[in-house]
């Protein structure tokens, strides 16, 4: 078990290095002078330019910049943004908000998706199943931002149940609507995945054997069908936390939430390169940790899997 974890952690090193290098190259190997962008209309004096170049290592070759970034990142120091704030402070402010939002979305989609998918699979071809399939297709087909501002309009503006935008007022109740919007698409995927998995397992030999042994149907469904159907669903959910944090760009934009997605988006638009690479690095780390957790969770779900 510990050997397996150690090996998996070693495997993640090239992934993290590669992903940061890739994003670093995309952000920094662009034509255009960030210093000119920083000064806008004003002329840049030579001394100021030299000082800023030294401060942000812009005078170094690209690969050295990347290595210096990694060196800082390892101790949680992402350097300064072009506007002079420590990037780690910006992330520390935004990350908990997005984490709360993404986690709420994950819980909503997991609970609702699994329950609906499980019953749809058990009642394949019946009215509940067909309704759920149509609902899931519609949710996937309508872009998240259309769903987002339709729900904002209905629940926020017209019914007034929740404030239409969150702003600085991040509370659990204020985040419920954004979390529902964020989790909706994944809810549809979880539902479909659970349903397919349940249908496959219902026809499996071990289920037939359990029934032949006289185990009650409800117990078979719960212990043999549902539990075995969870394996692909857990894989999906684990990878989905990363997607949710990326997808938060749209949701946070609509509901004006100062999270990591908004931070990344604004940074990209403003050419705040240090912030962009730092935020993406954090997201890559979250993804890597989540996939490790998912792999370990397998053992709990499927006793056949042993880690050596």
């Amino acid at each position: 078990m510990w050997g397996y974890i150690a090996r998996r952690l070693l495997q993640t090193i090239p992934v993290v290095l590669g992903a940061t290098l890739l994003i670093y190259a995309m952000v920094f190997l662009q034509p255009g002078d960030p210093i000119v962008a920083l000064f806008g209309e004003k002329p840049v004096s030579e001394t100021a330019r030299a000082q800023i170049e030294a401060q942000y290592h812009l005078d170094q070759p690209f690969i050295v910049q990347w290595l210096l970034f990694l060196k800082g990142a390892m101790v949680g120091d992402f350097g300064l943004s072009y506007s002079g704030q420590p990037v780690s402070d910006l992330i520390a402010r935004a990350l908990p908000v997005t984490f709360q939002l993404a986690f709420m979305a994950l819980v909503i989609e997991a609970v609702l998706g699994v329950i609906a998918g499980f019953y749809a699979g058990l009642r394949r071809g019946k009215i509940f199943d067909s309704t759920m399939l149509v609902v899931s297709l519609i949710v996937i087909a309508i872009p998240i931002f259309v769903l987002g501002f339709t729900m904002q309009l209905v629940f926020g503006v017209q019914l007034g149940w929740v404030p239409p935008t969150v702003g600085g007022n991040v509370t659990f109740t204020n985040l419920v609507l954004p979390a529902v919007v964020l989790g909706l698409v994944s809810f549809a995927y979880v539902l479909r995945l659970t349903r397919t998995s349940v249908i496959e397992n219902l026809g499996a030999d071990h289920v037939r054997t359990a029934l032949a042994h006289g185990v009650p149907r409800t117990q078979v469904n719960r212990r043999h069908v549902l539990r075995n159907s969870m394996i692909p669903v857990v894989t999906y959910l684990g990878a989905d936390l990363g997607t949710l944090m990326g997808g938060a760009v749209v949701t946070e934009g609509i509901f004006n939430i100062n999270g990591i997605g908004n931070l990344a988006y604004q940074a990209i638009l403003r050419g705040e390169n240090p912030t962009v690479v730092s935020v993406v690095t954090v997201m890559v780390l979250i993804y890597v940790v989540m996939s490790l957790l998912v792999d370990l969770l397998y053992a709990a779900l499927d006793p056949r899997i042993r880690y050596v």
Binding site: V16, F145, V280
Partner: protein
């Protein structure tokens, strides 16, 4: 020594029960099966299932219809989607203009018709590109194994670790700097590049898995035994036989990429606003329906987009049901 004539009447060793004459056995029925007939291919079997699925026909007809709109939009709307008449700003549906006008006084119906092209082309091109890259890299990794597999798998891990939407935004902002003023097709292709650059690993993984499943089967050995080169084995036997899961994912992904394009345009970084597209029109509509009035401005482009994506999803579902024996009833 035993007498050979006597042994004919004795039961043979192990034959201590009655054995019927060949004429009396149902084995005769073997003659009625035509063994010279070629076995049906996976695709022919799938087509047979597909033909009987009404969802397939609904989605196929819808997609055909959408395809005609994409190729010849002029057939459906003679109104120029770029001619604005401010005096008609935000007017509702009326005769000659079934979807009404938006704030700029554009004819919404004409824009929905002409906006189809950008969305569908982005979806189709992206899917084709990621399929080609995914099949080739996945097949090579699955077939050759060892360091090729290790290398391809680590590279896909790297691309997978970055959230698609965020990566596409960064990629597009880079492309905006490198390649400004790129016109209609340039704008479309930039979005395709950004989505494909981070979309292919999904297909690599699926293709690799499919190749791993079949590469030890007899027909692969047979191909090698008759002296085919490795490339010939890979391209004429392994790849065609591992396409099914890739095609299923592709039909669903087509819809996903169309939604992604709209999302990027909504964020103001996808297609330039000069390009008539559903994503741009939905983004513009957001500020026009804030109070709950003028819903037609939002409803029709969003409806067009949803209908297209829905058709691809339904097609994907039908194709999966036809190709995957596990979920067949």
């Amino acid at each position: 020594m035993s007498d050979p004539t006597a042994s004919a009447e004795q039961p043979l060793p192990g034959q201590n029960h009655f054995v019927a004459d060949i004429e009396q056995t149902p084995l005769e029925a073997t003659g009625t099966v035509d063994t010279t007939e070629a076995p049906k291919s996976q695709w022919k079997e799938a087509w047979k299932v597909l033909k009987g699925n009404w969802l397939f026909w609904v989605s196929a007809v819808l997609l055909l219809f959408i395809l005609v709109i994409v190729i010849v939009p002029g057939l459906f709307s003679g109104v120029d989607p770029r001619s604005a008449d401010l005096s008609k700003s935000l007017q509702g549906p009326q005769s000659g203009h079934p979807f009404g006008f938006d704030k700029q006084g554009y004819d919404v119906y004409s824009r929905v018709i002409h906006g189809a092209r950008a969305s569908v082309v982005v979806g189709l091109l992206t899917t084709i590109i990621v399929m080609i890259i995914g099949i080739i890299t996945g097949a090579l990794a699955g077939y050759y194994g060892r360091w090729v597999d290790a290398f391809v798998s680590r590279v896909t891990d790297i691309f997978f670790a970055i959230p698609l939407l965020l990566a596409a935004i960064v990629g597009l902002s880079a492309l905006n700097n490198i390649w400004p003023d790129r016109g209609y097709w340039g704008g479309v292709i930039a979005v395709v590049i950004a989505l494909a650059a981070f979309g292919w690993p999904q297909f690599t993984r699926i293709a690799r898995g499919a190749v791993l499943e079949i590469k030890h089967l007899e027909f692969v050995d047979a191909s090698k035994a008759i002296g085919s080169s490795q490339m010939k084995t890979l391209f004429s036997h392994i790849i065609p036989n591992s396409l099914a899961p890739v095609i299923v994912t592709a039909t669903v992904s087509l819809g996903v990429y169309i939604v992604a394009e709209a999302t990027l345009s909504f964020l103001g970084i996808g297609l330039p606003s000069s390009i008539v597209s559903w994503g741009n029109d939905i983004a513009a509509a957001q500020s026009q329906v804030r109070t709950g009035s003028n819903l037609h401005v939002l409803l029709f482009p969003a409806g067009g987009l949803a209908l297209t994506v829905l058709s691809f999803m339904l097609l994907g579902d039908a194709v999966r049901d036809a190709l995957d024996p596990k979920v067949r009833k």
